[in-house]
Amino acid sequence: MIDERGDRCPGCTKWYWYQSASHTFTDSSRTQSSSQHLHSSRMPLDTSSYTLSQLRLDGRRWNELRRIHAQISTHAAADGSSYLEMGNTKVVCTVTGPAEGRRAGGQGGGGDVLDVRVEIGLAGFSGVERRRQVRGDKRIFEMAHTITESLNRTLLTNLFPRSTLSISLHVLSQDGSLLAALINAATLACVDAGVPMKDYLVACTAGCMSAGAPPPPQVKADDDGSNDPILDLTALEEQELPFLTVATVGAEDKVAALVIESRFHAGRLDEMLAVGVDGCKRVKELVDEVMNMAPKSRASVRRAQLTRTITDAFAVKLRDLIWSRGATATPPIRLALVARPRVALHCSGGIFRLIPVPVGGCACRALAVGRLDARLKGAHWQGFGTMGSDGRAVAIEGGFT
């Protein structure tokens, strides 16, 4: 076995590129063979020693992602926006909301949770041939449906009753992994819009070089790695090879969406999924980097200020509240920034979550939801704080529910 941290294989003393996947991730019966398989397919870092058959058409190795370049806050008019490239696949996403539904009554934003609407537009020049998008294309509809359903469980939709979040995706260039790119761009734009979510929803594709045959029970000595699963397919590879698109929530093995449209032997699924999930982990890191690198826009700086002011005001209010519920000592209240723009308020009396809701102009409202400890009769407290354009909290209202 290779040393887990290792980059040098004791078997053949070559340098190996570290791949954090995936041999832990299979059934008991195949664990042994699978890990051997991965061992054999680890490739030396020095590409000059590669046989050409081990490299893909664009010169990547089996487990390499294409270059991911992304930006957020690209459109001033939208509440949140992003631009994402995965290789030559390029998409733009703009998000409006959470806001009042566009259609009054009945349809749209009438429910008790946030209504997520996704529209996908394919530019006529995005593919190989110029083609006008047909209305009611079922393939596009299915992609939009997948994104909606995945975001429904990732965004904290229960915090925005009677509101609509419109996500508009535009495809500028198609070169494989389209659904994955759309999901990643939507995630970035939602974060930019300040919609609270459990974790990043990230996606990528994985394919397989030999479709028909089941994976061999034992790895043969002459295995040149040409039967390996591959990560992040281009359009050319998608045409020829069976592949899957997988979306995970955060960096864990939690699969939110899985779409397979090709035929292959069932025994190939676990290795493809393992490579796909591992790819998602790396996409998550890259997305995280984009968020950290993003220049702070005026809006986001302002939002941070508002968050701080409102949180302070809430802290005072909550301390009073907890006192009134019969706490014995002054509860130390600690504010922690959990993730932009979510703020958690920890105090000895309970945990509260604050979500700032921009209401236009410089005014801002923050929603606090939380519960007091069982000692304090476990009551739920929910309230709104409103802040005027002068930057001071003018009113905080709420109560036990």
């Binding site: 089941p214 093995d253 939690k254 699969v255 939110a256 449209e261 090709s262 069932a266 025994g267 699924l269």
Partner: protein, 293 residues
């Protein structure tokens, strides 16, 4: 517009409580399909009606002769469309196709066409000029969950029992024979893809095969697996919903795929039975040019 009736909070809680104790309200096991039955129209080819529990689906294959698309001159065309009308349930409308309908059509079309179950080259009559156009229409007559399974069985049974007219090509001319002149030709399917859905409950902890209408309302996500008789996966769709651990997901897919194999075996038996019955009725043996040696 009538809205889909939703189950009450009490029913949902009760159902979930029971599932946590490995019980289903219908008394089935968690990994058991409802009883499937199939009837073939005795007077027509390629018309089938499938019943899965209370779900009923009718499929019908029609053949016409058209021009092949210029990009694919050597191929015929196969289109599959699903229709959910107010007949199915009051909340489905004729004028506006529902999401369920669009997703079912898409699932059928991509899994049967893209997996190459029917070689479309065999539908070509004259390259670039004439080909068969097969159109399978799926009518959902009653909806009580498990639409994909019932629809796949109906469509495949319809394709397996349908006939395309016998033809003869002479000097660039296609002659099409009526059923009276010559017996139609059976379609040759490469493999038989069947879908089985696993519904996910309790934050991804419980997987239930072939959910009925009530369970579909209470579920938190679904994985639809399309598998065939030779151990291949022809498609998997999990359109969002609650997140499931990757290892559990692989287990669910494998479980559903095994169920698919069983259904395919059952379906093939039924179709053979039907073909034998027809052959006996129509005295096909006497009209056949083949000798029984």
């Amino acid at each position: 517009m009538p809205l889909e009736p939703k189950i009450s909070v009490n029913e949902r809680e009760f159902l979930l409580d029971a599932l946590r104790q490995n019980l289903r309200l219908s008394g089935r096991k968690l990994d058991a399909l409802r009883p499937l039955s199939i009837t073939f129209d005795p007077d027509d080819y390629g018309v089938t009606e499938v019943q899965l529990g209370k779900t009923r689906i009718r499929a019908h294959t029609q053949t016409t002769i058209t021009n092949p698309p210029p990009s694919r001159p050597f191929e015929g065309t196969l289109t599959i469309t699903a229709e959910l009308s107010p007949l199915t349930a009051p909340h489905f409308e004729l004028a506006r196709p529902s999401d369920t309908e669009a997703l079912l059509s898409r699932l059928l079309e991509k899994s049967i066409r893209r997996s190459g179950a029917l070689p479309v080259e065999s539908l070509c009559l004259l390259a670039g000029d004439k080909c068969f156009n097969l159109r399978v229409t799926v009518h959902v007559l009653a909806h009580d969950g498990g639409l994909p399974t019932a629809a796949f069985v109906a469509v495949l049974a319809s394709l397996m029992t349908s006939r395309v007219p016998a033809t003869e090509v002479r000097g660039g001319e296609v002659q099409v024979f009526t059923a009276e002149e010559r017996e139609g030709v059976r379609l040759q399917l490469v493999h038989v893809p069947i879908a089985v859905g696993v519904s996910v409950f309790d934050g991804g902890a419980i997987g239930v095969v072939d959910a009925d209408g009530m369970e579909e309302q209470a579920r938190e996500g679904e994985v639809v697996v399309v598998g065939n008789e030779v151990g291949e996966i022809c498609g998997v769709t999990k359109w969002g919903g609650v997140d499931v651990g990757a290892v559990e997901l692989v287990g669910m897919v494998e479980e559903a795929r095994k169920q698919c194999e069983g259904v395919v075996k059952w379906l093939k038996g039924k179709v053979e039975e039907e073909e034998k019955r027809r052959a006996k009725r129509d005295h096909a043996g006497e009209r056949s040019a083949e000798n029984q040696r």
